[in-house]
């Protein structure tokens, strides 16, 4: 009997255990539109296609389903298991879509599209994005832009040549809590004072590689056609060089992008250590620790980032901006967000910040004015960021993309800006390989 602990979930495999105690509804109330009759699109109702219905594609779809005025008309995935699952799921929601194995077939047949969402493995992002932009479509492409710097650069070039929109899926850039905290607390109130350090992490517990139901194994010739050596590589592409960029790119990209965004600049150097020390059947590092040096106006601020795929360390992914007056800890998970103020920071008071609506005192139990209980010294009042945000994390970023198509917004993460962030992530991978400090110039980070 195999007995493995998987977080708080458990798998007990047994081959002989005798006696073992052992979605798319874009037009939510428009029933006509739900019967596969694709109406002519307009800026009021955008027709879109989703290319890639794996883990990330499913997350995008759930957000897309909440957005008014967007209609998913086509779904593409090379794997019939995922493709049919997506088709069935959408059918259950009353939305028929046309399904495709090949994105070029989709582009050839779907003549009334305004935009595509690309959520395929990284090495497909550049060719797909470039083809779709050239076909006259706006593109929302998941991060990383590409598994190579050249691939990412080509996407920016095509974006500029075609004049079409290219939004990269660094979704925190549209997160209302991030935007509020950056603009109000960090910039306006200068809550952190002089930024001296940054820390970020995303750690994950060990888990089984992705498998596949035997009966849905793709034929070898199809795997080869789409760039995979075998089914294991197809399902676990993130671990393979030439297909993905490893954990620094998969997980680190989210936090390192925020480093650059909030610091308002790019690092001048990177040093890193990491390796493939735990897993035996992967290409990419399973852990890495990175230090960037950011040239700030008042001096250098160092940023430390770690990604572990061998321990969750209790879980958690966050970015922490530390200054001589205070610290802001941000995360997509609101329960991990926190703000701390140094005792020396007397320029701005909690009361002022509260009055402006920039922070809120955490609720405490109601006091009865007629009573008092004497006990240990009470805790100091705690404050929090007063932005409640009840949409799926990717939804605002998609809304920003669609609103920009309609001309009512500006992209929060256009391809050229994303390139700057992603460049320094690629360089962190280079630094792990080189085992030395690498200089990053302000020219090379621009596409």
């Amino acid at each position: 009997m195999v007995d493995k602990l998987l977080n708080r979930r458990e798998f007990i495999g047994t081959t002989a255990v005798a006696g073992a105690g052992l979605l798319l509804e874009a037009c939510k109330s428009d029933s006509d539109a739900q019967k596969a009759v694709v109406k002519k699109s307009s800026l009021n109702t955008l027709n879109v296609a989703l290319i890639g219905y794996g883990e990330e594609g499913k997350i995008l779809l759930e957000s897309l389903l909440n957005i008014e005025g967007v209609r998913l008309v086509a779904l593409c995935d090379i794997w019939d298991y995922h493709r049919n699952e997506g088709g069935r799921y959408l059918q259950k929601l009353g939305n028929e879509v046309r399904t495709y194995e090949n994105y070029e077939d989709l582009l050839a047949k779907e003549k009334d599209l305004q935009a595509v969402l690309i959520a395929t493995p990284d090495f497909w992002h550049a060719p797909m994005t470039n083809t779709c932009l050239k076909a006259g479509l706006h593109v929302y492409c998941e991060k990383m832009m590409s598994n190579t710097i050249d691939g990412a650069r080509s996407m920016v070039k095509t974006m500029r040549e075609t004049g079409k929109l290219l939004q990269i899926g660094h979704q925190r850039r549209s997160n209302p809590r991030y935007l509020f905290t950056l603009n109000r607390l960090l910039h306006e109130a200068k809550f952190c004072g002089r930024l001296t350090a940054v820390q970020g992490q995303w750690n994950r517990a060990v888990k089984e590689d992705f498998g596949w139901p035997k009966k849905f194994e793709m034929p070898a010739n199809m795997l080869t056609k789409y760039g995979y050596k075998d089914m294991h590589q197809f399902r676990n592409w993130r671990w393979y060089k030439g297909l993905g960029g490893g954990p620094l790119s998969d997980l680190g990209a989210h936090q390192i992008d925020i480093f650059n965004w909030w610091m308002g600049t790019t690092p001048k150097s990177v040093m890193a250590s990491g390796g493939l020390d735990y897993f035996k059947n992967h290409d990419w590092y399973d852990n890495a620790m990175v230090i960037y040096e950011y040239p700030m106006a008042e001096g250098v601020a160092r940023a430390f980032y770690q990604v572990q795929t061998t321990t969750s360390a209790g879980g958690g992914y966050f970015e922490m901006f530390m200054g001589d007056d205070g610290t802001i800890k941000m995360s997509e998970d609101p329960s991990l967000c926190a703000i701390y103020r140094e005792a020396r920071a007397d320029a701005v008071s909690w009361d002022d910040l509260t009055q402006k609506g920039y922070v809120r005192a955490k609720p405490t139990s109601a006091e009865d004015a007629a009573k008092v209980d004497v006990r240990e010294t009470a805790q100091l009042a705690e404050y929090e960021i007063p932005v409640f945000f009840n949409k799926p994390p990717h939804q605002p970023h998609l809304e920003n993309f669609f609103n920009t198509i309609r001309g009512t917004a500006k992209l929060n993460c256009p391809g050229d800006e994303a390139f700057t962030s992603e460049y320094v992530i690629h360089r962190a991978n280079d630094a792990v390989a080189a085992q030395t400090r690498l200089v990053i110039t302000t020219d090379e980070v621009r596409a």
């Binding site: 195999v2 105690g21 939510k28 259950k92 992705f210 799926p392």
Partner: protein, 265 residues
């Protein structure tokens, strides 16, 4: 659903079974992101913000789970509720309707403070079982928090998965196949079950178990058993021949319902 889940797979090569189990646990994470009241962005958390008259689109799993919850509320005549603690904070139970055409929910009155703790685990087991069938792993036993289990095909050369009523190595045991069994009681978590009809504590002090074809049903029914009187329970079970209930008394375990009990182990 913040609890411990187990996936046991028999009659299958070890590494393939481990991958299938991982896929089932990944699915569980997705379901939890929709159904957990402890997740700020879950459907269930967001529903608490609806005002009377508001509607909200639900994810497919949340809609399907609430659809079963609605059915269980009706069949148990309110002894099971998806908003069990509402009467502690509101003068009456909130009212809600599901709009199938739009896959939406409408708040009719009150505040929709859902807690799917008494149905979500079983619902998750049902969905995980569907996935294991896709993987051609039909011989499984899924366990949620030790209080709900769902058995598939039996392990090779056995009549079923040996499952006991009560504590470890309980004397009353059954061989289960294609069946779900859920238990409720006060021994582990103390008095935590409320009668949604009155807002008061559960009537029953001893354990109750419910057996059904689907995990969501057995999970909800076992909780309802804690607040139903025996005559009320008999009335409920008269409507549903696929359910069987075991009630712990001081002397023995009573069997209630028309379904034939599974073979003893």
């Amino acid at each position: 659903m913040a609890t411990h889940f187990q996936v046991r797979i028999a009659n299958e090569e070890g590494s393939y079974a481990a991958q299938a189990a991982q896929a089932a646990l990944d699915l569980l994470d997705t379901l939890e992101s929709h159904l957990s009241r402890f997740r700020v962005n879950s459907d269930i958390s967001k529903l608490a913000q609806l005002a009377p008259g508001d509607t909200m689109r639900l994810s497919e799993p949340a809609f399907a789970c609430l659809e079963i919850a609605k059915k269980m509320e009706q069949i148990t005549r309110g002894a099971f509720s998806a908003t069990p603690a509402a009467l502690q904070a509101q003068v009456s139970l909130p009212k809600w309707d599901l709009l199938r055409e739009e896959l939406s929910i409408r708040c009719e009155s009150g505040k929709l403070q859902f807690d799917l703790g008494a149905i979500g685990k079983g619902f998750a087991l049902d969905r995980m079982a569907e996935l294991l069938h896709e993987w051609d792993c039909p011989s499984f036993l899924l366990v949620a928090g030790g209080s709900s289990i769902l058995a598939g095909d039996p392990p090779r050369e056995t009549p079923g998965w040996s499952c006991g009523l009560g504590d470890d190595n309980a004397p009353q045991r059954f061989f289960l196949t294609h069946t779900s069994l859920s238990g409720s009681g006060l021994a582990v978590k103390g008095q935590h079950i409320l009668d949604p009809r009155t807002g008061g504590p559960a009537l029953r002090q001893n354990r109750a178990w419910a057996l059904a074809d689907a995990g969501a049903e057995s999970d909800a029914l076992s909780t309802a058993c804690m607040v139903l009187s025996e005559p009320e329970l008999e009335g409920v079970l008269a409507q549903e021949s696929s359910w069987l209930v075991f009630l712990e008394t001081e002397e023995k375990i009573l069997t209630v319902g028309n379904r034939i009990a599974p073979p003893s182990a």
